[in-house]
């Protein structure tokens, strides 16, 4: 297993909520990444973001592992939630908060913090 493969897997499996996006929360480079981040923030999720833009290999490796071709990609406790459309849809129906409570505990909002992980 190469390093990037391990690093991507560690983020997916190790972070409570992982958002692979274009850019960072400070400088978002894509509207869909913003839609996903906004929905996660409204749900009070503790988001760990990974910018996939610095190296095309990150996106390649990520899609190989997830089977999802586009960015952003959102994972909760290692489970692929989807992209921006599904995240917004789940947020609107209240399903996203229910999923977060189920995966992280009902007090998940308390630990609310944002983290940025760099893979290169």
């Amino acid at each position: 297993m190469n390093d990037l493969q391990t690093e991507v897997r560690n983020v997916i499996e190790g972070e409570p909520v992982a958002l692979f996006m274009k850019g960072t929360p400070q400088m978002i480079m894509c509207g869909n990444s913003k839609r996903a981040l906004d929905a996660l923030r409204r749900a009070g999720a503790p988001v760990t973001t990974v910018d996939i833009l610095p190296d095309p290999a990150i996106r390649q490796e990520l899609s190989a592992q997830s089977g999802w071709p586009t960015i952003p990609q959102i994972f909760v406790k290692g489970e692929l939630i989807g992209g921006a459309d599904i995240t917004e849809e789940l947020e609107a129906s209240g399903e996203l908060e229910r999923k977060l409570e189920e995966a992280l505990g009902t007090d998940y909002r308390d630990s609310r913090e944002e983290k940025v992980v760099s893979l290169v």
Binding site: N32, P69, I81, G82, D85, I86
Partner: protein, 76 residues
């Protein structure tokens, strides 16, 4: 019928709704809606993966720059 619409029609022959909206008029930002019985029992992730699979070629060759997807299970 546009390329995207015909690919979706071919992948979801039972679909009651196949809608393709060119969001910006530029021919590369699309919102597709599919209502099909094939989605029954599937998670949203798996439903969207079927749509991605149907559109794999235009996604890979850059015809689609950005894609929004709405899927619904065909009602009884």
């Amino acid at each position: 019928m546009t390329l995207l619409e015909s690919l979706l029609r071919a992948a979801f022959p039972d679909a009651s709704v196949v809608e393709v909206v060119d969001r910006t008029g530029g021919g590369d930002h699309f919102h597709v809606t599919v209502v099909s019985g094939q989605f029954a029992g599937l998670s949203l992730v798996d439903q969207h993966k079927l749509v991605y699979a149907a559109l794999a070629e235009p996604l890979a060759d850059g015809t689609i720059h950005e894609l929004r997807i709405t899927t619904r299970v065909e009602g009884p």
